[in-house]
Every structure is written in C-alpha cells, then in structure tokens.
C-alpha cells in the first residue's frame, strides 16, 4: 500500500505490484526469491530498492520489467496487467514502456554507441533517418556527443553506462529500471551516473526504480524500499 493510497490521494499508481512470489530451483534446492511483495509506484517517482545480496532485488526488478514472470501475484504498468500478455506482447511492453539498465552495461559489443542507443527504435520500426537523429539527441543529453561512433570497448565504464541509460530512455518509456547501475563503477563515476539519473528523472518526469547497494543513491531518491529474504522489510519516504 503506497503512501499515496494511504493519504487517499486521487492518484492512480503507474506501477502496481501485488503479492509477488517467485521461487528458483537451484539443483534440488528451492530458493525463494520473492515471498509476497506488494507496493505501488506513482508516475515520476524515483524509488530505490536496497537490500543485501540474495534478498531478491534483481528478481524483483526483472519481474517488474516484464523480463521474468512471477509464480504468483500480479504486476501492472500503466494499467496493463502483465499476466494477461503473451511473450510477444510482453516484449512489446518492454520495448515501449520500460527501459532497462544493468550493472554490466550490457551493450552490444559490435555496435557503436549511436547504434546501441538506436537499437530499440530499430526494433520499433522507426525509419533509420529519424531514429539516428533521436539517438544523437539522446547521446547529447547524457553528455556523449563526442563518443557517438565509439564501440563499447573504446569507452570507459561510466561512458558505457551513459550509453546504456540513453538506450533505456530512447523510446520514452514510462518506467526506467536499473539493476546496480553504479555497482561496476568507481565512486566518482558512480556519483556522476546517480546525478545523471536524478537529472533525467526530474527533466522527463519518468518513473525510476533503481536496485542498488550504493548509499549515494539513497541521497537523491523519493522513497527507499528495504528488501530482505524476498520481503519488504521497511519503506522510507525521503521527500514528499
């Protein structure tokens, strides 16, 4: 139950997670990753999910982003309930409404920064001329105008993560999901990435959910959800 609901505010949540449960099988052992997680996120909110490793943070993010399906429970984004969608429709939701950023950047190594950022537009069948223009603008926005034709191997970690952020936001998604975005960067670079995300969150009004260990992120977000053993332990509001 989000605070918005508690306050009786007449705002519908952009993302609703209801009683999410998911268990992994590791060989013969069943590992419960999510054990009934319920929360809402409003449009434009910046939420951080904290928790020790193995607390189910990444699984939660995958489920929220439609990359993985829960065993039980329900996720809906922008009024679309994921459980009603087949794999193709879910891919379409990932393409249009969700942007992912990962700890290890996950750029396509053979493509230049520009082509990596353009990829979702290509998948969305945008004409090449238009998609190139948009990708260029996006790269400028994340401060990489002079790195457009570099391949990932020719860029620093921070630069690669900026490309990944640009790629995640190129399709104007409703929700931006990041899994340890600063986890593979040094403190300074990590801080730059945090600031970039904060700036973009304010500028575009998109919803950000970031799974992290990084205390620096905690400084900037609206709400922190603490996860432990697959359940929400505490929720801390920072701003209102």
């Amino acid at each position: 139950m989000s605070l918005l609901h508690q306050a009786g505010a007449n705002v519908t949540a952009l993302l609703e997670a209801k009683d999410l449960k998911k268990t992994y099988r590791m060989g013969k052992v069943l590992v419960p990753a999510l054990q009934g997680i319920t929360f809402d996120v409003a449009e434009g909110e910046f939420v951080a999910v904290f928790g020790p490793s193995g607390s189910g943070k990444s699984t939660l993010l995958h489920v929220l982003g439609g990359l993985d399906r829960p065993d039980e429970g329900e996720v809906s984004v922008d009024g679309i309930s994921f459980s009603t969608l087949n794999d193709n429709a879910l891919a379409e939701v990932r393409l249009r409404k969700i942007g992912f950023v990962f700890q290890f950047f996950n750029l396509l190594p053979r493509l230049t920064a520009l082509r990596n950022v353009e990829l979702p537009l290509t998948l969305a069948d945008l004409p090449e001329k238009e998609s190139i223009k948009k990708a260029e603008d996006m790269l400028k926005l994340v401060g990489l105008e002079d790195r457009m034709n570099h391949r990932p191997s020719e860029m620093s970690g921070g630069e690669q993560q900026r490309v990944a952020i640009a790629r995640a936001l190129i399709n104007d998604p409703k929700i931006f999901l990041a899994d340890e975005p600063t986890g593979n960067l040094d403190t300074t670079t990590g801080w730059e990435i945090v600031q970039l995300m904060e700036r973009l969150n304010k500028k575009k009004g998109q919803t950000f959910i970031v799974v992290t260990h990084d205390p620096a992120i905690a400084e900037t977000v609206d709400r922190i959800i603490y996860l432990k053993d697959g359940s929400i332990q505490t929720v801390k509001e920072r701003r209102n």
Binding site: H62, R94, L95, R96, T122, L123, D125
Partner: protein, 419 residues
C-alpha cells in the same frame, strides 16, 4: 524490425566472423558447384547422345519386320501386304527390301564381301524413303528398274582405304551367294554406280550394303520382301502409324521398329542418370547444411548474452528468429551466387579434359561420318540455376531453423546471466 536492417545486421555479424563465415559459405559453394557442374554436364551428355542418335536414325522411317521376337518369324511380305502398308494414313512412302546375307563379289581377281545384299526398288528406296542420303561417288542411279544392275556401298567398294576401289561403273561383277547350306548361286551384274559414305541409319550401316533390283531377286528367290521401310509424314505420328500397320496383320505376326520411341527410351534413361548424378551432388549441399547448423548453434551459444540484451530491450522472439535465419539465408544466397558460375566453370574445364580422353573410338559399323569427335559441351539452363539457388537457400534456412529457434526461445533472464 525491417528486413533491410535485419539483413544488414546479419551481414555485419558475418563480417565480424570472417573465417567462420568463409568456411561455412565454402560448403554451400561446393554443394552448388557440384550440382550445377554435374547437371550441366549431364544435360550436355544427354543432348550430345540424343543428337548423335538422331543423326544416325532416320526418325521418320519405321522398319517393319515379318515376325516378332517371341512368336518367331513368319513368311515374307507379299506384294499386296506392301501395298496395304503403303496405304496406311500418314505414310508417305513404303518400300520392300529383300535381304540376302553373305554376298561374295568378284571382279576379275578382286574379291569383296558385302554384309548385306539388298534387293530394292532403288528409285523408291533412295528417292522417297531416304532422300538426300545416297550420293554417288561414281556412276548414277539407274534411270528405271533395270535388271542385273548393281550399286555398291562405300565400304564394300573400299574395304581398304589405301587400295584402289573394287569396281567402277560398267564393270561386270560376279555375285556368289551361298543358299541352302552348300548350294552357291552365281549371277553377273553390271555396276551402275558406287556410293559415298552414308553413315549409320538405325541399327545398320548402308556403307556395307550392296543393292540389286528387287525384280531380279524375286526371280531368284521367289519372295517379295522380308523388310519394309516406311516413311511417315511426321516422326511424332510414328507411334500411331506403327499401330495402324500392326493392325493390318494378325496379332504377333510383325514387328514395327519406331526409332523415335527408341530415342525417347534412351533419353529417359539418360534423364534418370542426370537426376541420379544431381542427387549425389545434393549430398554435398546437405553436408554444407549440417555445417551451417553446427556453426549457427555455436554462434547462438556465443551470442546468448547478446540475445538476452536484445530481448531485454524489447526484441520479440520472432525478431531473434528472423535475425538468425537471415544469417543462414545470406550464407545460402552468397554461396549459391558464387557456386553457380563456379559450377559452370568447372563443367567447362571437365568437358575439355574429358573430350581429350574420349577421342573417338573407331567403331566401324556404327560410325556416323558427321559425328566423329565426341564432345560434351555443358549446357547452361536457367531452370537449373533457379533450382540450385532455391535449393541452396532452402537448405541453409532449413538447417538454420533449429539454432535460430533455439536462440528465439532463450529465456531473457538466463541469457543475460550467461557468461
């Protein structure tokens, strides 16, 4: 994703793995090359054989034999039977032949043997049934049926090319024929003319024949004809004319040899040989297909993470499937486009080499004068090109399907975790 983008991405990815792409494509090239080379050579072989047979056979001349292979021989044809055959529709001419075997000819102290002595109405035989076939080396065709005249085939007159001819026109030649075992019949003939080489006709070679007037033979033997040559208006009517002629006689009394159906038979056998050769070549393409499957499976494994990224970004399974199929298809397209000209090139080289080996075997009896050098020229055919290219691409897509499906079915979360 648009097909153009898909193909350009596939192309990029293939360029990235140059050696692997080259080797995989090479397999397809070899397969297509083998198919095209064997098909074009096979086709060339078939056409060359058919042409030679058509040169040898007079396609519009049927041979009627008094008897059948299994029911045995009957008595020779009578005059009225020959007339009946002549009256069958679509028959333009029919001429009776009375064959006399093992003829010895003497001209002074010179002696030659003719395999076949044929008693014919020479005017009808040479002008109506086999027009333009018989050219005279010396002398000329008798004006009308003149008794006791003789026309000598080239090989009879020239048993040995280096020695002078056996006889010349107006020589008087003694003919001796052994009949009824030990009784020898002799008669004198005046040579009317000697023939040039005629080449093969059907199963015989007129160069080894001598011709005497049929009336003379009837006087000696009493029979009319043990063979009728029938000329039809159109070779493609020969089957039906043959049927009509058979119907003139009681069942199993005669045999009509139809050269066209013989050629068609040989043609269909050669066709089968061609298809057989091509299917063997197709095995090479099949092996190439398995190579593609192998390489693409490895490629899918190597690119598992990449596939995970694409799926996370929003690529549908179908898009991933098409991306990998596009790579297989490109290998097929490139391989086929290289394989087709290579195949024709190799076919030409092979035909050149083979022609060198297959210098004409001197088969005296069946030698056709105009086809002395055996050359097999590969034949280019668009239909084979299209079949080979479609087959090549189809094999590549078919064998690319399994790895592509494997890629499309990958679970995105697991694919992203893959190291």
């Amino acid at each position: 994703m648009r097909l153009k983008r898909m193909l350009s991405m596939a192309w990029e990815s293939m360029k990235h793995r140059r050696l692997r792409t080259f080797l995989t494509t090479l397999g397809v090239v070899i397969g297509i090359t083998a198919i095209i080379a064997l098909a074009s050579l096979g086709e060339g072989f078939r056409v060359s054989i058919t042409e030679r047979m058509e040169q040898g056979f007079e396609l519009d001349v049927l041979t009627v034999i008094p008897g059948t292979l299994f029911a045995g021989m009957r008595e020779p044809f009578t005059n009225s039977e020959v007339a009946n055959v002549r009256n069958v529709s679509n028959v333009s001419a029919a001429t009776p032949v009375l064959q006399i075997g093992g003829v010895n000819l003497y001209n002074g102290d010179k002696n030659v043997i003719a395999f076949v002595g044929a008693a014919v109405n020479f005017t009808e035989f040479a002008e109506k049934v086999f027009p333009n076939r018989f050219l005279f080396e010396e002398g000329e065709m008798p004006e009308q049926i003149k008794n006791d005249t003789l026309i000598i085939g080239y090989k009879v007159n020239h048993p040995n090319e280096t020695e002078p001819a056996f006889a010349h026109p107006n020589d008087t030649v003694k003919m001796a024929v052994t009949i009824f075992g030990n009784y020898t019949l002799t008669a004198n003939f005046t040579v009317a003319g000697t023939l040039e080489k005629t080449g093969t006709s059907g199963l015989t070679n007129f160069d080894y024949w001598i011709f005497i007037p049929i009336d003379t033979a009837i006087k000696i033997y009493g029979n009319v004809a043990d063979l009728i040559f029938v000329k039809v208006d159109d070779p493609y009517l020969s089957e039906s004319v043959a049927k009509d002629i058979e119907n003139l006689f009681p069942p199993y009394q005669i045999t009509v040899l139809v050269p066209l159906s013989f050629i068609q038979q040989v043609n269909s056998i050669l066709n089968m040989v061609e298809i057989f050769l091509t299917s063997i070549a197709s095995i090479a393409l099949l092996v190439a297909g398995i190579g593609i499957m192998n390489i693409m499976t490895v490629s899918v494994m190597e690119r598992t993470r990449e596939i995970g990224i694409l799926k996370a970004v929003g690529a549908k399974s179908r898009t991933i499937l098409t991306m990998f199929l596009a790579e297989s298809a490109l290998i097929g397209i490139v391989g086929s486009l290289i394989g087709v000209p290579t195949g024709y090139g190799i076919a030409h080289v092979l035909s050149y080499v083979l022609s060198g080996f297959a210098s004409p075997q001197q088969n005296h009896v069946f030698q056709a004068p105009e086809a002395e050098q055996a050359t097999i020229a590969p034949i280019f055919s668009w239909s084979w090109v299209i079949i080979a290219v479609i087959f090549g691409i189809a094999i590549c897509i078919l064998f690319g399907l399994y790895p592509a499906r494997k890629a499309a079915k990958l679970d995105p979360v697991e694919a992203l975790r893959y190291e």
